[in-house]
Amino acid sequence: MDFREFLHDHIVILDGGMGTLLQERGLQPGEAPERWNLSHPDDIIAIQKAYFDNGSNVVNTNTFGANLLHFDEDELTQIIKAAVANAKAAREQSNADHEKFVALDIGPTGRLLKPMGDLDFEEAVAVFAKTVQIGVSCGVDLIMIETMNDSYETKAALLAAKENSNLPVLVSNAYSENGKLMTGASPAAMVAMLEGMGADAIGVNCSFGPDKLAPIVREYLRYASVPVLLKPNAGLPHSECGCTVYDITPEDFSSITAGLVGEGVRVAGGCCGTTPDYIKALCEHISVTVPVAEQKQDTMISSYTHAVSFSDDPVLIGERINPTGKKRLKEALRNHELDYILGEGLKQQSAGAQVLDVNVGLPEIDEPAVLTKVVYELQAIIDLPLQIDTSDPIAMEKALRIYNGKPLINSVNGKQESMDAIFPLMKKYGGVAVALTLDENGIPETAEGRVAIAKKIIDTAATYGIDKKDLIFDTLAMAVSADKNAAKVTLESLRVIRRELGVHTSLGVSNISFGLPQRDIVNASFFALALVNGLSAAIMNPFSAEMMKTFYAYRVLKGLDDNCSDYIEFADSVQNNITIGQKTAKSADDELTLSSAIIKGLKDQAAKLCTEALQTTEPLTVVSEHIIPALDKVGQDYEKGRVYLPGLLMSAEAAKYAFEEIKKRMTGGGKNKCTVVIATVKGDIHDIGKNIVKLLLENYGFDVVDLGKDVAPELIVEETVRLHAPLVGLSALMTTTVPAMEETIKQLRESAPWAKVVVGGAVMTEEYANSIGADQYAKDAMDTVRYADKINQEMS
């Protein structure tokens, strides 16, 4: 029987632990269990046969760590071939008369993915792909991805399984005591992402006994439409007379696990510490025979930590990462100023945005590359789900691929071409799409016309296997200044689509007021009307006071805000602060000057005083007479030991805020010194030192090109040559990465002989720097600034 058919109609019994049983048979600590497939096949077969004999429908191959990071390709191939042969032999030898399947077991790589670790996402996909290809060629029945404790790695493994086979895939994660994955994802976030990508069953294994996993598996049962899996440990291990003993007996284990099967779990087995006895007892305790499939209707998106559900409680989607009409953002995108873009994201988050729209569409940029980079960097530090906003299908696919979660997709519409481009991507990568009610004939002028397009989109999505719960309809807010009935049609279509078609809705609210003065007044009222008509999500400016007032007031009035607590907190911020979401100075100090604000490290005051100074003084004069002297003073005090490093940094940050004001008033941002390329070298993921250097160099007017951390020598050379940069700054923290620094210098000497190289970092000394051929060792950031100034003077 095909495993998918079996899964559809039966409770599936998995196997139990392998590692603990191998240790009993002599596996040593630190020894690779996968090699036992070749060296001790009889032991492996005996254990697997016992599982089949005692009731397992599925037995995993002994390939938990079988991947290219642990074995070379030849050995890997031999191991997997032997492992599949062993499991098949066990199946042959077992006389049990139930259905028996062999699953290719895939565990985590043991490495953490970038940007937190050093393993590239695509490299991880390739590593898993090789294991899948070999396993599939040996003829397994299904794939079991298990014990994954990071959402991003789980995505890489599932993608590899899907791209290299048509077999059913079960995906199981290992949770921590706080109910989250080690890297932070909640069960709901994992359900959203894995179901979206087409896993056949999802769930939980390892970590604890079934008692402690119960609350986590119940979260799965609450959100998942696909079958839910549970494979717990036999409790926690302890030592008795020199032996490892687990604290939950087969009897207790099976009664708790069978109870959870009664609650809806459809795939069950055991993990560490469980034995064939546990599986036998489990089979005896399970009384459910026919599983009940329940289709959930939640519309969910997710980030690497949490899921956001669409409901009657409106979701705010921050629209500010979109260059249309934003001069400063355009400049930031062109100059790869990711810190500015990340800052915009964080400000929207603190202003109340629950999702961030990301649009980087500018005619002169490489949109696929820039969109991917921005999504990657945003998801490294901001835990909000993202709405990927592009009309370029290539950019869309690349961004969906590297997104760590289930994103919002902006957008699809009723044109055949659009649906043909977007739906296959949604099917492969998961996602909820914003569907615009327009098609080849444009935007219908009537509500009936827009609803008809919505129906067409729902029907077409269904042919791709996409449920309507994964579509959110945008009935298109159009300028009332151009058509007095524009708002009425939009609202009526919204109402019908939400109430009659039973799907969620969103609007780019502010389009309604295009061409009118004081747009926020109209926007806020339109927003209120749309909410009443069933608006589920608004793409809007979270810094708009009028819009946020409407949002909080609506939630209070609709009974969505318990004890009015969100509203009260918001009301306090309105009273204290006219500009929402942006902190202003706590106490204005009349005596404060721009220089003293910088020296004291007061960011907001520095920005305010700089703005005031610019009303009467030329930008360059403000820089040379106020900002630079203040920075010099702090720099000198730091070198004399009168100011500590945090103080130096706070002043530098205050100066940066002042420079942002200067930038708004002059093109080129006041940079008047040479280009400096900086990077943390390949293999090194520590970058605080490099970032400090960057901040100070920028303050002193250098044009800093920051290539980031873990940067290959080739890329550093390429950028240095492209920009003809006279100075390169390299950072390394560990002795193990200094060879990469040396290699980078060597390559620079060959291809960019004009460039001077300054090096620094925890392990560096002057001697060490000389020995690897650097031009200069800098003991700290100020030292680097001084050297850069020297190079700059020599040039001019």
Partner: protein, 222 residues
């Protein structure tokens, strides 16, 4: 057998945070910044340790800890002829690295304090773990020697590979080792300490035996 322990937050040690942030003397001008960072860090921190007790063998002129060949004087000296050692790995978790990363881009002054907090937290976690082990051992009239780690003295970083092979750190506590032998999450420690008869010696401060008396990070902490 590998065991996993999850700890409550150990007591905070602000002077250590200041030391790691290179704030010397009695300067109190960063108190509010440090308090702000601590408050923000707390939600991102977790305290996990995995460990295994290994037997010690002296053969072929070398020291063996379980199956790990460890011909290093620093370990030999530290474990004082113990017959058993405890090998452990401790981490404050991946979410905290994201917090450092966030401020590394947006406010390096806060990133610096966060780095210092992470260093103080993981050291305090190691102390908490060793104290607990010591208390358990004292029932049998035994105690723990001071701990040493790969990278200390003559112990090469390459020993991390052996430590990770024995402790199964990725699965037990979510700690990984990359191709440059760096640990992720970054605020993590692996170490070994001997199990010997008797009580813990009158404690000296941690850096007492180090010759580099001019080091910026030298501590007086016990």
């Amino acid at each position: 057998m590998i065991r996993t322990e999850i700890f409550e937050a150990p007591a905070w040690y602000r002077r250590e945070i200041m030391r790691y942030a290179r704030i010397r003397g009695a300067d109190d001008s960063f108190d509010s910044l440090i308090s702000e960072c601590i408050a923000e860090a707390e939600a991102s921190l977790s305290y996990r340790v995995c460990y295994s007790v290994l037997s010690v063998e002296y053969k072929d002129d070398s020291l063996y800890l379980g199956g790990i060949r460890a011909p290093y004087d620093t370990i030999k000296k530290a474990i004082r002829s113990a017959n058993e050692v405890v090998l452990f790995a401790a981490t404050v978790g991946a979410p905290f690295d994201r917090l450092i990363q966030k401020y590394s881009l947006l406010a390096p002054s806060k990133a610096l304090i966060m780095q210092a907090i992470g260093a103080e937290r993981v050291e305090s976690l190691c102390d908490a773990f060793c104290e607990k082990m010591d208390t358990d051992l004292s029932k049998d009239g035994k105690c723990l020697t001071p701990r040493v780690s790969p990278g200390y003295g003559d112990i090469p970083l390459a020993m991390q590979k052996d430590v990770f092979a024995v402790l199964d750190c990725p699965r037990k506590i979510g700690l990984t080792l990359d191709s440059s032998l760096m640990m992720s999450p970054t605020k993590s420690v692996t170490a070994v300490a001997g199990i010997v008869d008797g009580c813990r010696e009158a404690e000296q401060h941690k850096c007492a035996s180090c010759e580099k008396t001019g080091c910026a990070y030298r501590t007086e902490r016990k």
